[in-house]
Symmetry: C2
Subunit: 437 residues, 2 copies
């Protein structure tokens, strides 16, 4: 018997093994975690992480913001706050959503501990074990982990270069309905998809919203990268097309700083009430200090200009990666992201990105295998490359090393034939750790 | 038909009403919430809140800590961190637990978004719907909310002046075992109980731990007030008696500042691994900034002295409240807390603290009715009074107003007879909001 991710390592030592809840059985550390501990060494070029590049952030501005916050507002910033979040921050969030055409009342906003907590809360209030959550194929690993922890049945819907495919969504919903399944949510990252690197086209947006409405499925629109498009204006959010049918999630982690853990959800009124109650149960209230630090950064700094600076920084790195891939990986194919952090790469037939990862780390380059982004057995032929964090030179060097590993794999394959791909047991979701999501 | 807390107000407006998960049905806003919005007006003396008194906190020290944090460590403080929490903070937490005799390896500690999140995560990994969680009668309202949200069956175990009663615990476990119930956790606040105001005696601690071990029940020891005892040394934590059978929860919210939302759990090794995975699913990672702010406060300030300052501040307020009660509320009885924030008051027979609250708020004083602290129909004859936040003069004035309200109620009762007490439907838990827990 082979040991898959579903096994309980060290189970003989755990006297509480018989006490865990059913949902906990799905919570397993990824076997790639140990590899990434190695991959964090400085000699390894990590194209794996999703950490934003903070080199461009004006630390003097942030420093002044937090120290004047304590001086002028200490007793409030250090105290408990409201479960729904600071009213002044909620007002400012309205401004931040203008480019994506999300309009709301401040009362419709719930501030969360990063948008990850919003994912958790939405799933908590809607999903019973066995309920279906639809997600793009591939999908954000952190969301898959949440759905899994609430024992949802994740069903993937295909994407292409224009994002989620409306006819595929509709077909999937028809067959799920026939099978008597209860579909609760359509989870989607329409802008600069993680890991897909594609954006849902403006033409498809009304179609997706209409299909979801027709089938009574709530749309969960996750938009951390909406302001990080390299060309043209942002496409209006799905939320702008049907505010009563879409929960919109935003985040300051990619446009300001993840260290404060401030995200938010915009939800229909009744849903928002449930989200606040669920959040109070989960954490009482989000950090007053973090919220007020973000508020004062937004108030005192030209944050729009700063987002523009980030955009240019990421565009330069995107260009470096696409050029390097074009120069050095002729046997692979990939998406060409117009924003965000990620390129989704398809490796030559017969290669297995998960099996190849240890060899890549030995060759001092890291990526996330495609399998992490599916709730089922897909993804062995893909990998996610991030260009957000390393310098353009390091990106080029990383792709050079990766190309070498792929060439070696192809040599081995030519000599010995392709290794049979081993499907993964069940629908266990890898949890590769916070810095890789 | 009367409208209880379990009703779905505004349900006709919620198009997603049919989509909520089963667990969400238990999430209802307390009907006392609206009252507390009124109670937050300055003319009302609130003896309801559990907010720590931050007047004694050296804001200059905190201001310097956060600004030098950005200057010296900005790119780390503003970035994602580890799911388990900052290693340096985990080391410092070991020091903080020394007075309570909790010994651990830094690897055994999981940093959480306030200890509320630790409550949520522990419940998440252990409790299936219908599992029993034992809790003191009364018990912390925020914990009851968590247990309810995971559809636990909360069974209360009586306390007396020495805390949880071992024979009652053992009897309860025997009868639950006979009934075929699956008991997962014993939730207890052994030090300066919220809302009970009592401390589990040193003699009873080994008995409680031994009973839990015998029945295979994991102890969840919640200790936010362990350092806030007014007399003598802290009693060793339950954790010190059986580290493999106890999860210990600590918090900086009462000894430093709640606005950073930093708490922690100390758990047996295998359980700790599950907690980290659950936390990554819930929030990816706790705030790096918050953690490093607490770390630098602990490193650069004489935090033990500061805790001593808080202790004296709360002792003075406890004294003010006990004197005022003794002088002005001869028909009630109450506990005499040796630390912490709360006095638990029993009102004269026939009075109903929940029904009385609107009259109290009209008389410009607020408290939390006893019903908030039970998962069942108990508590109408009790109220929780907090002395942590108001000045001694305001405490005295608040008790004076409250005594007037009680006297009026007794007059009404003498004239018209006691109102029949209406048991609450089901086991719906009030969620009065974060500043009242």
């Amino acid at each position: 018997m082979q040991t898959g991710e579903g096994s309980n390592q060290g189970s003989r030592l755990d006297q509480w093994l018989g006490s865990y809840a059913a949902r906990t059985r799905g919570m397993t550390a990824s076997e790639i975690r140990a590899l990434f501990a190695v991959a964090s060494r400085p000699e390894v070029v990590s194209l794996a992480g999703g950490m934003p590049n903070l080199t461009a952030l004006p630390m003097d501005v942030v420093g002044r913001a937090v120290s004047s916050l304590v001086a002028e507002n200490g007793p409030v910033a250090l105290q408990y706050g409201s479960g729904q979040g600071d009213p002044e921050l909620r007002l400012r969030i309205l401004d931040v959503m203008v480019p994506n055409r999300v309009t709301a009342h401040p009362d419709d906003i719930v501030v969360t501990t990063g948008s990850q907590q919003a994912l958790d809360l939405v799933t908590r209030i809607f999903v019973d074990p066995g309920d279906v959550v639809l997600a793009e194929a591939p999908s954000y690993v952190g969301a898959l982990g949440v759905f899994r922890s609430y024992q949802a049945d994740v069903v993937h819907v295909p994407m292409d270069g224009e994002g989620l495919i409306p006819s595929a969504l509709s077909d999937t919903l028809v067959s799920l309905k026939r099978a008597g399944k209860r579909v609760k949510l359509l989870y989607t990252v329409p802008n600069h998809h993680n890991p897909g690197g594609v954006t849902l086209s403006p033409e498809r947006r009304p179609q997706i919203v209409e299909i979801a409405r027709r089938f009574g499925v709530l749309v969960l629109e996750d938009d951390p990268y909406g302001l990080l498009g390299f060309d043209g204006d942002p496409v209006p959010a799905l939320h702008s097309l049907d505010p009563d049918g879409v929960i919109y999630l935003g985040s300051f982690s990619k446009t300001f700083a993840p260290g404060f853990r401030v995200g938010w959800a915009v939800a229909p009124h009744a849903v928002r009430e449930k989200l606040v109650l669920a959040s109070e149960s989960a954490i009482l209230c989000p950090s007053s200090f973090s919220q007020m630090a973000v508020t004062s950064y937004l108030a005192e700094h030209d944050w729009k200009h700063q987002v523009g600076v980030f955009r240019e920084l990421y565009r330069e790195r995107r260009d470096a990666m696409l050029h390097a891939l074009g120069d050095m990986m002729p046997t692979s194919s990939w998406t060409s992201p117009q924003g965000g952090f990620y390129v989704w790469v398809r490796v030559p037939d017969g290669l297995d990105t998960k099996a190849m990862l240890p060899r890549a780390v030995t060759a001092r380059v890291a990526y996330v295998p495609g399998t992490a982004f599916y709730a089922d057995a897909q993804g062995h032929d893909h990998m996610r490359l991030s260009y957000c964090y390393p310098s353009p030179e390091r990106i080029r060097e990383g792709v050079r090393r990766l190309a070498g590993v792929i060439d070696q794999e192809l040599d081995v394959q030519a000599t010995f034939g392709a290794a049979p791909r081993r499907p993964r047991p069940g629908s266990v979701v890898d949890s590769p750790g916070p810095d890789l999501t």
